[in-house]
């Protein structure tokens, strides 16, 4: 599904044929599929309206109006029948039910990046609240929205919460002014606290490993610390220096190939394609010899939210690799081997990394850097793929299909779907 201004276009994944077309009242800011893929919600923040469309019954409609309360965020509940709207100024979270048309309110939600977290199995929801300058966590049962637990979080200013994939541990971390991460069990007990250091800027991003064994914490000091789930103590820390000296690390460097115009192409190309192929430079990966020094950027010291530290963390679905990005070295993706707890591969790109995402099925990483190429890495090697399009297609973000066979590449105005062929065994 994709939205264009106020229209919602639903296409088939394999053929990209338009299946449905819906019109909304206003410009759509956010769309989300329900968990059973039967409904799509379209949120229009300016108007404070959420419209829900059904795929099964195209003429079924639903509109939720928040009125003067305004709308800041909207999302589905895991059962696909409730919509949670966050009103303006984070006054409250309204839970609308599609089945019963009933409304529930959650008061005092925390105005932070990740204030709501659902467990993977969709049973419980954790909401961060703030009352009287203190942070609280409420755990709700998603089936009947009953408050299960309510406890206070010992954070100064809660920044985010995230459930472990096994649904039993909730990680709560503090603002970047304070390096503190708290681990609560499902029933609200504090399991452990971890503080790496004081005073410097703290946690920037965290990621749970798919088996819930490890919790990777990326911080502003360019290090990733890994905690284990048994003792909740740090087992190792990964450094991201600008010079890679270890001989066992493979460094792939993206190198521009001189554009080669093949003679067969010259015979019948449409001029546009030829021009585009000339302008868009091909690139390939070269293996650089260690020691390699990467481009290091020291951010301006007097600005808030400096571009330093570990900004992106992601575990591979088989729990073997961890991909990180150090914002001080924006052109490189660092891939760590989780089994050996060592740096495995570094991908050095020509442009700054915009985003990366693991294939949901296998250890394959797709990286986009804002140009018209998508880069794929797997333990077998890495490849740079050019999006065959006329003109510029600057990939800003990408998203894998859950089967791992295709991925959607998004630029500002367009998107395309990249299909990956499976090897015939």
């Amino acid at each position: 599904a994709s939205c264009v201004q106020y229209r919602l276009v639903v296409r088939d994944v394999n053929t990209l044929r338009i299946l449905q077309l819906y019109t909304c009242l206003d410009q759509i800011q956010h769309i989300e599929w329900s968990s059973d893929s039967l409904f799509i919600l379209c949120a229009m923040y300016k108007r404070g309206i959420v419209q829900v469309w059904s795929l099964e019954q195209p003429d079924w409609h639903c509109k939720i109006d928040e009125g003067s309360a305004g709308l800041v965020a909207s999302c589905w509940s895991p059962d696909g029948r409730h919509i949670l709207n966050t009103t303006e100024f984070h006054l409250r979270i309204t839970v609308w039910s599609l089945c019963t048309k009933s409304v529930s309110y959650i008061k005092y939600p925390k105005a932070c990046q990740q204030g709501i977290a659902f467990t993977k199995d969709g049973r419980y929801m954790a909401v961060a609240e703030r009352r009287d300058c203190k942070d609280f966590i409420s755990i709700f049962v998603c089936s009947d929205w009953q408050l299960l637990r309510h406890f206070d979080a010992e954070t100064q200013d809660l920044f985010g919460i995230e459930w472990a994939p096994n649904g039993c541990v909730l990680a709560v971390w503090d603002t970047c002014l304070e390096y503190k991460i708290l681990l609560y069990s499902l029933d609200g007990r504090l399991l452990s606290t971890y503080r790496a250091y004081e005073w410097s800027l703290g946690i920037k991003s965290i990621a749970w490993s798919p088996s819930s064994q490890f919790l990777a914490i990326g911080s502003y000091d360019e290090k990733v610390r890994i905690l284990n789930h048994v003792t909740w103590k740090k087992i190792t820390e990964f450094e991201h220096p600008a010079t890679i000296a270890n001989a066992k690390t493979i460094v792939y460097k993206e190198v521009e190939k001189s554009p080669s115009v093949e003679t067969e192409r010259l015979s019948f190309p449409p001029t546009r394609a030829l021009a585009s192929s000339l302008f868009s430079t091909q690139s390939k990966y070269d293996i650089s010899q260690v020691p390699v020094s990467l481009q290091y950027i020291k951010p301006v010291a007097d600005r808030a939210n400096p571009k330093m530290g570990i900004g992106m963390l992601a575990f591979s679905p088989d729990n073997c690799f961890l991909a990180t990005k150090n914002d001080n070295i924006p052109n490189a993706v660092w891939i760590w081997d989780v089994q050996k707890l060592k740096l495995f591969v570094v991908l050095e790109q020509l442009c700054a990394i915009q985003s990366f995402q693991w294939d949901p099925r296998q250890p394959r990483l797709a990286v986009c850097t804002g140009n018209s190429k998508v880069y794929l890495w797997s333990p077998a090697g890495c490849v740079s793929v050019q999006v065959p399009m006329e003109g510029d297609f600057q990939i800003v973000s990408l998203s894998w299909h859950s089967s791992g066979d295709s991925m959607a590449l998004l630029s500002k105005d367009n998107f395309c779907v990249c299909y990956l062929e499976r090897e015939e065994v």
Binding site: S54, I64, S68, R130, G167
Partner: protein
């Protein structure tokens, strides 16, 4: 009277002059062989006129007596015999004088030598002194230098220490500053927090106000329009929230947690069991590696039996159901025992390492050292051998290749073959020559033999004729004498002889006949039977050995032919 102290060194020349005077004196008194004395007097003494003047200074004509007596006194005090004669008076004993002089001379020589020695030693000591003084001067210089160095080093040391102190001070200052800054930061942080809280409270108040206003406004606006209700995802009906549901929720939550914990515990148990197994295996292996130390527990004091008991217990526990026991004591025992064994193994390995290092230094355990040296020598020898063998193999290979290579070349092979053929041909030619020579020889012999045979035949003929004639005569005589019947036997004798002769002739003819019979095939074929050879040998003397039967045969055949 002149002072006597200075005259010591001049005793000799004085004596000489004295003796001169004495001689003059004595010549007046006594009879002494003047010639000897004059000779004595004419001894080459480098007496200069000054000496004479000295001499005259001591003893003049006036004080001869006194000087003599003085001399006598001196000499006697020195231990010499008196120069006066036995009897009192002024008679001088010349012999004693001379002896005294001699003694004095000897003494003088001795003294001179001693003086020389003393002077030598003096020189030596002087040079030693110089040397020592030089050394002393040098050492003093060195001492000065080192003192100056020490002073310099001390100065440097002081500078470095002061620098060190400065740096320490700086470090301390920095640390203090850091501490101060941290304190400042913390105070600022608390201040900010306080301010933030204040602002948040204000903000909350505003939010509340806003909320109230929003809620008070037309509620209708906040509504949800749904075409129709959607069924629940799981198809169930919505239920009311009651306490029961609450309890159920709690239960479910706890169930979830418990299941998670149980799963983790299972994993940990499995891991634990594996680790225990590994530990046990390790323990067994360690025990097997260690040298048997059964005596040790006995040697220990009271701990001995206790520990062995423990070990026995552990041994018992090392059975299969070990991992089922997970109580504290068992675990501790296992880890302790493993630690102990590991320590023992470590000690053992350290001891071995020490031994090896000692061997390397070469102190103890000569056997190993020697064997190592031997080993090295042997390896060197073997390497040499290998080198030699390799070289040999190389050369052989080369030769082989050459040989193999040569047949490939046709010309060379032909040449070679030709060479071989030439060689053979030459050999054959040689043999031919020899053979022909032999043949010639044999022919010569054959000819000679044939001639001899012819002669023999002729002679025989002649002999036969003679015999015949003689027989005739005899017969005639016998016939004439037949009337004389006395010589009956003689003709038989003669006949016998003639018979014998005839028999001989017959035999020879008989002998010849088989020759003639056999000679036919003989000429055709060279092969002969041994019988023939023997016959040949009996009839004709062949010089050649039986190996070459051809010439014999040919001789025979020729013989037959001639006959």
């Amino acid at each position: 009277f002149v002072a006597m102290g200075d005259w010591k060194t001049l005793t000799v020349p004085v004596l000489s002059s004295d003796s001169k005077n004495i001689f003059q004196y004595t010549s007046e008194k006594k009879v002494s062989p003047p010639s000897m004395n004059s000779q004595v007097l004419r001894l080459p003494l480098p007496s200069s006129k000054s000496m004479h003047s000295f001499f005259s200074a001591f003893c003049t004509e006036e004080n001869i007596e006194q000087s003599i007596s003085y001399l006598n006194r001196e000499l006697t005090t020195l231990g010499f015999p008196s120069i006066y004669a036995e009897s009192k008076g002024k008679e001088l004993n010349l012999i004693s004088i001379i002896n005294c002089m001699n003694e004095l001379l000897v003494l003088q020589h001795k003294n001179l030598r001693a003086q020389e020695e003393v002077e030598m030693q003096h020189l030596k000591l002087g040079s030693d002194m110089d040397h020592l003084q030089n050394c002393y001067a040098k050492l003093k210089e060195q001492l000065e230098l080192s003192k100056r160095e020490i002073v310099g080093l001390q100065e440097r040391d002081r500078q470095l220490q002061s620098k060190n102190r400065n740096l320490h001070q700086l470090l301390k200052n920095e640390k203090d500053e850091v501490q101060k800054l941290q304190n400042i930061i913390s105070s600022r942080a608390t201040q900010y927090n306080h301010d933030m809280k204040r602002k948040e409270r204000e903000y909350n108040k505003l939010k509340e106000r806003l909320h109230q206003l929003v809620m008070n406004k037309k509620d209708k606006k906040i509504a949800m329009e749904v075409l129709n209700y959607v069924g629940r995802a799981d198809g169930k009906r919505g239920a009311w929230r009651t306490d029961k549901t609450e309890a159920r929720n709690e239960e479910e939550m706890y169930k979830v947690l418990l299941s998670d914990y149980e799963q983790r515990q299972k994993q940990l148990l499995v891991e634990n069991a594996e680790l225990k197994k590994v530990l046990q295996q390790m323990k067994k292996e360690i025990i097997s590696l260690l040298p048997p130390q059964k005596q040790k527990p006995k040697e220990r004091s009271e701990d001995g039996p206790v520990l062995s008991d423990l070990e026995e217990d552990i041994g018992e526990l090392n059975k299969e159901n070990m991992w089922e026991l997970s109580c504290e004591t068992v675990r501790e025992q296992l880890t302790n025992s493993i630690r102990k064994q590991w320590r023992m193994l470590k000690n053992h390995v350290e001891r071995l390492d020490n031994q090896v290092s000692r061997v390397h230094s070469g102190a103890l355990n000569e056997k190993d050292v020697i064997s190592r040296e031997d080993h090295e020598l042997e390896t060197e020898k073997l390497e040499l051998e290998i080198q030699q063998c390799k070289e040999m193999i190389k050369t052989q290979q080369q030769l082989l290749q050459q040989q193999l290579m040569s047949p490939c070349d046709d010309d060379t092979t032909l040449l070679l073959q030709d060479c071989y053929l030439l060689e053979e041909r030459e050999r054959l030619q040689e043999e031919w020559r020899l053979f022909r020579e032999q043949k010639k020889n044999f022919e010569k012999e054959r000819r000679s033999f044939t001639e001899a045979a012819i002669r023999l035949g002729l002679e025989r003929k002649a002999f036969e004729e003679d015999r015949g004639a003689w027989l005739k005569q005899q017969f005639l005589s016998m016939c004439t004498d037949y009337k004389h019947s006395e010589n009956v036997t003689t003709p038989s004798a003669f006949l016998g002889s003639s018979d014998q002769d005839n028999r001989l002739v017959k035999s020879t003819s008989q002998q010849r006949k088989p020759h003639c019979m056999l000679s036919g095939p003989v000429s055709a074929e060279p092969c002969q039977t041994s019988q023939h050879i023997t016959c040949n040998s009996s009839s004709a003397a062949s010089k050649k050995p039986a190996g070459d039967s051809k010439p014999n045969q040919w001789v025979e055949s020729d013989k037959e032919e001639t006959e």
